[in-house]
């Protein structure tokens, strides 16, 4: 009983901690990337792709990790069971990105094989939601770019890039975005 009650207290404490808005660093082993991992698929419902951009259902939707993978299996676990319009996600890890990659969402971090800027340039104008992490310049920045504000994971949205890619991003999502820091790319 004591052990059990202690466990519950811990859960409760954790919940309270979250509710109070504790620092990201304290969330768990790699809380920042855990959060970012869930965000990757959570963006899906707020983005509209041009019709016919993807193979028809029930083909799964591809979520690609391009270059260095900061998530590990966190992303695999996160997307398990997640669906958009009844279609499941499948995670693909790619060394390089190009127009034929067929990714609906691509997390671009760059690697020795292909820099983030090169990868982004390769799919420019493609109906692909590109996401970068902490990009400082317009070249390195995807349509969505993760930033840290007040110790919290936030994001920028490059509306012009999205429009160029033929994507429309929900105003709900746009309203959550932080203003673009590095100018329009």
């Amino acid at each position: 009983m004591l052990a059990r009650s202690g466990f519950r207290s811990a859960i409760l404490g954790l919940l309270l901690f979250f509710a109070a808005g504790g620092p990201v660093a304290a969330q768990d082993a790699a809380p920042e990337y855990t959060i970012k991992a869930t965000y990757l698929y959570k963006f899906g419902p707020y983005v509209s792709w041009p019709s016919g951009a993807w193979p028809p259902a029930p083909a799964p939707l591809k979520l690609c990790i391009v270059g260095t993978d900061p998530f590990g299996d966190v992303i695999d676990r996160a997307v398990r069971g997640q669906e958009v319009d009844g279609r499941a996600f499948v995670v693909r890890r790619l060394p390089r990105l190009d127009a034929s990659s067929g990714c609906m969402i691509a997390f671009v971090s760059g690697s020795a094989a292909q820099s983030a800027a090169e990868a982004l340039a390769a799919v420019k104008g493609e109906p692909m939601l590109t996401i970068t992490d902490g990009a400082q310049s317009a070249r390195d920045r995807g349509i969505i770019n993760f930033v840290i504000r007040d110790n919290r994971v936030r994001f920028e949205i490059d509306a012009a890039a999205a429009a160029a890619a033929g994507l429309s991003i929900s105003s709900k999502l746009q309203s959550l975005a932080v203003p673009l820091a590095g100018g329009v790319g």
């Binding site: 979250f18 808005g21 959570k42 936030r154 929900s170 709900k172």
Partner: protein
């Protein structure tokens, strides 16, 4: 209109019921409005929560508390929102807005919008892609009290005023109807009272009529002894004279004539006496007419001097130019008789009774009781020098049934008759008395117009038989002695005479056709009475002159105390002089 009290009560309760119904209706409308308002408000708050829930999805998904806080903070613009909160999937509060004093619940309440203790609470799920990712909690004041008051106040005011109006109108209408009904009842009661008053007045008039007659009879009763005495005296003279004539048939002519004259004079006095008694006792209504008071007093004084007794001297002091009075003659006689009887009773040892007449003028306010208009009056004063009255007795003297006389001597109605008669005639009575000095009663009678004075007195012309015409008279009389006597008188006067013992015989004589100038008939005949005889005779002799004679005013001739128009009557007993006068009137030479 004739509203029954039941109807008016019904109307009042109907009005009150209507007012209550109106009030209830107003309350019902208000309640319905409140309920529907709440339902609408609840829906509104639910929709608002739904909107927030749909807006806040991204903020919840991406853990953006600031954005969520902005969303709920925006609800502050709505003053009705007390509290708004967003909870995440785990039920932890994510963002909250609260007005001072309000706190959102820690745990998420059940979904849905509802009304809870004056507040509207709505909980909407935040769904993302069909999954619940959190909850929106919204608590709104249903409406500030003052707003509700202002919303329902006007309605309540209108309904209350309408109800009051209906109630007031209804009750006042009912009150009016009640008042009307009451008025109607009062009018009925008044009508009934009026009818009974009229009946009472008629009854009173009848009783007064009877009372007057009784008073007159009472006065006569008072005089009966005196009359009997006087009559005995007269009879004494007549019988004495006649006996002397019978015993001495060969007496000298001078003696015989003296005896006959004495008997005739006595008989005349007797006739006058009975005439007066008859006239006095005749029952007749009060008929004010123009009266020569002096003549009436003179006639009465001769009666009184014979009837009051020998110890009482009756004197008169009459004004020469006395104006006629407008009074009922019989009642005036009755009043004077009553006063005379009182005077006699006040003078047991004898004394003097004085009757004075005078024209007087009463100035305004001269009459002590004040209800006599000023003007010219005829005053008759009856004065005695008897016992007099104390002021106490004097004060009550005119009260009915007040009497100082021993039982059997008077009813106490005498002076009240005097008073009643004078007042009814529009006159005034003054009485002065002093113990030991006597009493003076003065009657102030209203004047009549001088024009109709004396004209109606049948006895005013005295004439002697002269220039008698000749003619034939048919005498009808059932009493053979009286018939023979009348026939002798007529022959003496120079007429030719035919005789009949009844109506039938008279008619057969008339039909036989002799020239007859006058039918002289007794009224009281066996079988056909005199009047019927005259009517039948005139059928075939329309211009036949008729003179009736009667010992009593017969109903066959007299109606309402007066002779029928065109009827000539000679009352019995009559003297030859009066017969001659009458005949000369009817059959002018």
């Amino acid at each position: 209109m004739a509203d029954t009290p039941l109807l008016s009560r019904l109307r009042a309760s109907l009005a009150i019921a209507l007012a209550i119904a109106l009030l209830l209706g107003g309350i019902g409308i208000g309640t319905y409005g409140e309920i529907s308002y709440r339902a609408q408000k609840t829906r509104e708050v639910g929709v608002q929560a739904d909107i927030v829930a749909s807006i806040v999805t991204a903020a919840l998904q991406f853990d953006d508390r600031r954005a969520a806080q902005e969303y709920v903070g925006a609800l502050a613009a709505n003053p009705e929102v007390e509290t708004a909160a967003i909870y995440d999937a785990a039920g932890t509060r994510f963002a909250a807005y609260m007005r001072s004093g309000a706190t959102p619940p820690r745990a998420v309440p059940a979904d849905g919008s509802r009304y809870e203790s004056g507040m509207i609470v709505a909980v909407s799920p935040v769904l993302e892609n069909g999954r619940r990712i959190g909850s929106v909690y919204l608590q709104a004041e249903s409406e500030p009290f003052y707003r509700r008051i202002s919303r329902y106040g006007l309605l309540a005011l209108l309904v209350t005023m309408a109800s009051l109006l209906v109630a007031v109108l209804g009750t006042s209408r009912a009150a009016l109807a009640r008042a009307n009904a009451e008025l109607g009842r009062r009018a009925d009661a008044l009508d009934a009272a009026n009818r009974s008053l009229q009946a009472e007045m008629q009854e009173r008039a009848r009783v007064e009529e009877r009372l007057r007659q009784a008073q007159k009879m009472e006065a006569i009763g008072q005089l009966t002894g005196g009359v009997a005495h006087d009559f005995n005296n007269i009879l004494q003279v007549i019988t004495g004279s006649l006996e002397r004539l019978k015993r001495r048939p060969d007496a000298p002519r001078q003696d015989r004539d003296r005896g006959l004259t004495a008997a005739l004079t006595a008989a005349e006095r007797a006739a006058m006496l009975t005439q007066q008694l008859l006239a006095f006792s005749r029952q007749q209504p009060l008929m004010p007419a123009s009266i020569d008071v002096n003549r009436l007093v003179l006639g009465l004084s001769t009666l009184l001097s014979r009837t009051l007794g020998e110890t009482i001297r009756v004197d008169t002091r009459l004004a020469l130019d006395l104006a006629p009075a407008a009074v009922d003659a019989a009642q005036l006689e009755s009043a004077l008789l009553n006063l005379a009887v009182n005077a006699r009773d006040a003078m047991p040892q004898g004394g003097r009774l004085m009757i004075e007449t005078a024209n007087v003028e009463l100035a305004a306010g001269a009459a002590p009781d004040g209800d006599v208009p000023p003007g010219h009056y005829v005053r008759i004063a009856v004065v005695d020098n008897g016992l007099g009255m104390t002021p106490e007795v004097l004060a009550k003297a005119f009260d009915p049934f007040f009497t100082t006389k021993p039982i059997g001597r008077g009813t106490g109605l005498g002076l009240s008759q005097v008073y009643g008669f004078v007042k009814q005639s529009g006159g005034h009575v003054e009485m002065a008395s002093e113990p030991g000095r006597g009493t003076r009663v003065a009657l102030y009678l209203p004047r009549a117009d001088a024009s109709d004075a004396a004209a109606r007195d049948p006895d005013s012309v005295v004439s002697t038989p002269a220039d008698l015409p000749h003619g034939t008279v048919l005498v009808v009389e059932d009493d053979p002695d009286v018939r023979a006597h009348s026939a002798n008188l007529l022959r003496e006067l120079g007429y030719d005479v035919l005789e009949a013992e009844d109506g039938a015989a008279a008619l057969s004589i008339l039909q036989a056709g002799p020239a007859i100038d006058l039918l002289f008939t007794d009224v009281g005949l066996p079988g056909m009475n005199g009047r019927e005889l005259a009517e039948r005779a005139r059928r075939f002799r329309p211009h036949l002159k008729v003179l009736f004679t009667s010992g009593y005013a017969q109903e066959a001739l007299v109606h309402g105390g007066r002779l029928d128009a065109g009827v000539e009557l000679l009352a019995k007993p009559f003297t030859i002089t009066r017969l001659a006068d009458k005949l000369r009137d009817i059959l002018p030479p």
